[in-house]
Amino acid sequence: MSESATFRGLNNILYKNSFLKAGIIIISFFIGVILVTFVYLPSNPYASVGPDFAPPSYSFPFGTTNIGQNILSQWMVGTGSTLSVGLIAAVVSMVFGVMFGISAAFVKHMDEPLMRSADVILTLPTLPLMIVLAAFLKPTEDLIAIIIGILSWPATARVIRSTSLSIKSQPYIEVALMSGVPKRAIMFKDVFFHTLPIALTYSIFSIIGAILTIASLNFLGLGNLSYITWGSMIALANDSSAIYLGAWWWIIIPGLSIILLSTGFAFIAYGLETKWRSI
């Protein structure tokens, strides 16, 4: 897109869209935290640097774990890992979603098979399936993210398919055909650009799903527990009976963060979606 178009586009989208603005602020905050981890961590998240089960204080703003690890450091590292997992899942879901969605709309004999597979996948219960896979395959966090992405392409694909169908009936597609542009080029260049905004919006929905799924898996003790994520923090906290011992900070802080991050993305997705609807 040209500079003038994107700039005007962004301005139009942001105007009077408080959901979008709020969402962007939230996500920016978390991204800021990740950027900070590249240059500074209060202390080694794995090392015991303080008293056990210390409540939030000046030296340990988020308190400590059962073996004295700085929860703030863990939380900062966890931000990065949680977000990266979400992003991997979203990218995978978007790639497959767009590819299959556009193909279903433009290639007659691919429509039925693709949409039926989408229906099947949509009926699969994600979490139980992931539990089974995680328990038997013992995959890395990244692989889990990819699998979640693969399981969430149907939602995106459906929307992309209907968008593509309406684009297909537009005169400018006919003009491209009359100019001799090969069908594949029309599908994956022209149509693709027009589905991009909606694809991004729906991918954000899948980020949320991914974050929650991984957190749940971690909480259940699956996945690599030495890899710090917010979910694994809650899992360890629970194992150490943090609630009974009154160490609310160890559970509440990562828990609230998951909610806040998800909400931030949800706001962005909602804000974008209402904008596309009105257009």
Partner: protein, 314 residues
């Protein structure tokens, strides 16, 4: 070598089944028409007359249920897509939805050259494109603009330019001035005229506005309810309209009204509820008689090259 007409439309019909009522709607009903090289034929009709459908059938964008369209003597179905688009092009009515907003003007013009004519040499492409953009009255700086930055008039010019850039033998211009304000109307028509002179193409100019036809066309075909009811050289048909419907179009035209001629249409004979098995215009015709309601008149040559489908003359 027998010289053949670029376009021969032979007895073309197109039906639709209305989803709600299940009735069969005839959009185009037995149309026969030929277009000659380097001429502009205006296809004049009101909305719903089937003119757009006919235009699209003659460019292969839609398929006829009956009859055939011949492009340079060969049936249109027998052409491979690429070969068809080299010879036949179409411009859409709505310049806003016919141009991909994200594409650059340069892309729009380059694509037919690249994909239909196989030209890949950058210099050659640039030369042809720059040549064309001046012909449509815009300067080279437009080439790098995105379509979304263009006004309606500018877009329509690009659409027309794109259609002619491969030097086709036949172009259908579908209501090219309808969505343009009056200020740019003459400009577009002038451009079409210039491009016809340069490429020797045959053009079908579809319009509901008879003044556009008067302004621009060599021949005219009047379409009513899917049928061609009168056709011939524009001046002849307008000077002496034979079919009552054509007569009404002329009377109601701005040209006529401005020149101060009285408009007297006898509306008393209009019968809204009577069904016709014959001439489709009988309901609204002030000259109708018995035969008109029972039998369908066919196109007959009444004056030189001037055909009309009406029982007043046969």
């Amino acid at each position: 070598m027998i010289k053949m007409d670029p376009v021969n439309i032979v007895n073309v019909s197109k039906f639709f089944r209305d989803k709600k009522s299940g009735r069969i709607i005839t959009a185009v009903d037995g149309v026969t028409l030929s277009l000659k090289v380097k001429t502009i034929t205006a296809l004049v009709g009101e909305s719903g007359s089937g003119k757009t459908t006919l235009g699209r059938i003659t460019t292969g964008l839609e398929r006829a249920n009956k009859g055939t369209v011949y492009i340079e003597g060969k049936e249109i179905q027998k052409y491979k897509s690429i070969n068809l688009w080299q010879k036949v092009q179409y411009t859409h009515q709505d310049p806003y939805s016919a141009l991909d907003p994200y594409l650059k003007v340069r892309d729009v013009l380059e694509r037919p050259l690249k994909f239909l004519l196989g030209i890949s040499d950058k210099e050659q492409l640039t030369e042809i494109i720059e040549n064309l953009i001046t012909k449509i009255g815009m300067d080279r700086t437009y080439l790098d603009k995105r379509n979304e930055e263009l006004s309606g008039g500018e877009r329509q010019r690009i659409l027309v330019g794109r259609a002619f850039i491969v030097k086709p033998v036949y172009v259908v211009a579908d209501e090219p001035t309808t969505m343009i304000d009056s200020i740019h109307r003459n400009v577009i028509l002038g451009i079409i005229g210039d491009l016809v002179k340069e490429t020797n193409a045959a053009v079908m100019l579809i319009t509901h506005d008879i003044s556009v036809a008067l302004h621009m066309s060599d021949n005219i075909a009047i379409m009513y309810n899917g049928e061609i009811i009168e056709k011939g050289p524009t001046k002849a048909v307008f000077d002496e309209p034979l079919h009552p419907y054509t007569g009404n179009l002329k009377i109601a035209s701005v040209d006529n009204l401005i020149k101060g001629r009285e408009v007297k249409v006898d509306l008393s004979k209009i019968n809204l509820f009577k069904e016709t098995k014959g001439c489709k215009f009988a309901k609204f015709c002030q000259f109708s008689f018995e035969k008109c309601w029972i039998e369908k008149p066919s196109l007959k040559e009444i004056r030189e090259d001037h055909f009309v489908a009406c029982f007043l003359y046969s």
